[in-house]
Subunit: 348 residues, 2 copies
Amino acid sequence: MAEKNTKIRQISDFGEFGLIDYLTKDIKYKNSELIKGIGDDAAVFESGDICNLITTDLLVEGIHFDLIYTPLKHLGYKAVAVNLSDIYAMNAIPKYITISIAVSNKFSVNVIEELYSGIYLACEQYGVELIGGDTSSSLSGLFINITAIGQAKKEDVVYRSGAKKNDLICVSGDLGAAYLGLQILEREKKVFLADNDVQPELDKFNYIIERFLKPEPRKDIIESLKKYKILPTSMIDISDGLSSELLHICSKSNLGCKVFEEKLPIHDQTFLTAEMFNLDPAIPVMNGGEDYELLFTIPLDKKDEIEKIPNVAIIGFMTENKDEKFLIAKNGVEIPLIAQGWNHGEVE
Amino acid sequence: MAEKNTKIRQISDFGEFGLIDYLTKDIKYKNSELIKGIGDDAAVFESGDICNLITTDLLVEGIHFDLIYTPLKHLGYKAVAVNLSDIYAMNAIPKYITISIAVSNKFSVNVIEELYSGIYLACEQYGVELIGGDTSSSLSGLFINITAIGQAKKEDVVYRSGAKKNDLICVSGDLGAAYLGLQILEREKKVFLADNDVQPELDKFNYIIERFLKPEPRKDIIESLKKYKILPTSMIDISDGLSSELLHICSKSNLGCKVFEEKLPIHDQTFLTAEMFNLDPAIPVMNGGEDYELLFTIPLDKKDEIEKIPNVAIIGFMTENKDEKFLIAKNGVEIPLIAQGWNHGEVE
């Protein structure tokens, strides 16, 4: 008698996006007001003549953050920022957030107040309001779940799926810094744990560390795009590394792409730190993560307009052949893009 | 030199609702489309001519549920149900949910599929759609955060604050069952842990156990109220015990109340189980919790209409003097209501 295959699949068998895809693969939406469910930076539903957008993110102590080197105020700020980034990535305006926190009873209230001070600072900075939440004890560790709600006119919402052949691929800001900032913090943590008297030397890494600890979602870019009347054909925020996000745009838009190594925006400190770690600087850019910059595509005829916006780089273009998704290295070699996203132990 | 008072407040120093109130005490809302922020069953904001409602709940293993006696399918169902209950409690229709889950990598995927099967069952039962979420590993324990979004016309939304003097106080269903169901499960768990060969005898407690494990939000009551054209003046769902919820309505509406012990709706099994535990059955009704029934007030002139709706009991009335909030016992004694809500270690 043949043995039945009864292997139990473990959660760790699934890749970064595998589990949520697997669990939600059979969902069929029925509500005609629901424009987009699972599968973009945020879900989109109409109510009246307005689109509402909703996105949610869970941050887990020991998985997404380490309280040894993360000030709680920064953590609160970042928890809000990463959700707002998802709303901006749909070309919408974030309006409201809710926050659920589970925290050990051993924490003092001052600690939670610090966290909230960062939350409130981000709310004020980006004009959003905290409208609800839940608070619970946890048996161990700190858990923060934030849900953000944004709004936009239906015709303004930008999805991952709208890129067209020959569209220019653009990114805001610079990339790879947050990943290297984290590497510095991890290195200094090890030094500190080995000898508590050694004070970390972080001054010359201040830019990349701040990029990791206190990312700013690109509200300014959304405003500039509006000012110059550029409606991106597709957009996504860069949370898992440029490579992974490019693959999302290609897959959802059913196209390929070419991006050029020489065009990648890299900060001097990122460049020098990569060299210090004996890393090709393109690696943290392509496969690092937590940049929270915007990756978007625009029609070719918007080239003159986009060049007027500071802090936006054109890095490549969309191609027809969906099997060709390449980084063109400085020496001309075509390197296939692979998804090797930011891995902090997430199952999604 | 006088010693400065630098006592550090611990989270456990705060009462059940204390921490969230404390952390959010300084919030001032600016957005005129935001009708209700923190402080009701759900937040309410307008978009176009529709009101959107949003509520969020966090369930933590070891605090809110015990996997020893909680089937995962039931847990998924309940996690959705308790959020929908908050939306119904605003007289609105739930439309969408998002789910964030943090789960130990040791769990098999089958376990998570069980949880999701309950989530999907509740979605289908109540006509809501799962539109987003996040999944993460946890270092220990299972965390589930659900956010529900509902909609209603602005004039239909019912808050906690609208009760008027002499309004009738009504509740749906029966109360106190879930609390006693939990006591039975806890008792059988102890017996089982002491001797694994003893099989629990749960048959004669099936109703109260199901009330705890698989509560049903009262969509039917909202539909009946609409059918009979009764717009409650105030409403709340009963998650922390009738006493606590009555105090919320009184406090938000700036009134007092009188409710009558002889009018409290109690199921036979609840009654018998309370007697078995040597408990006055009024205690789990007033100070138990997790009933997920609706508590609402209606104008006196709707008395004939409300009596046409099955499973609704009139239990008392609102009074002018906000310092008089009483349960009138069967012997006529006036017992002041106290908030002694459901305590599962929550800090909110």
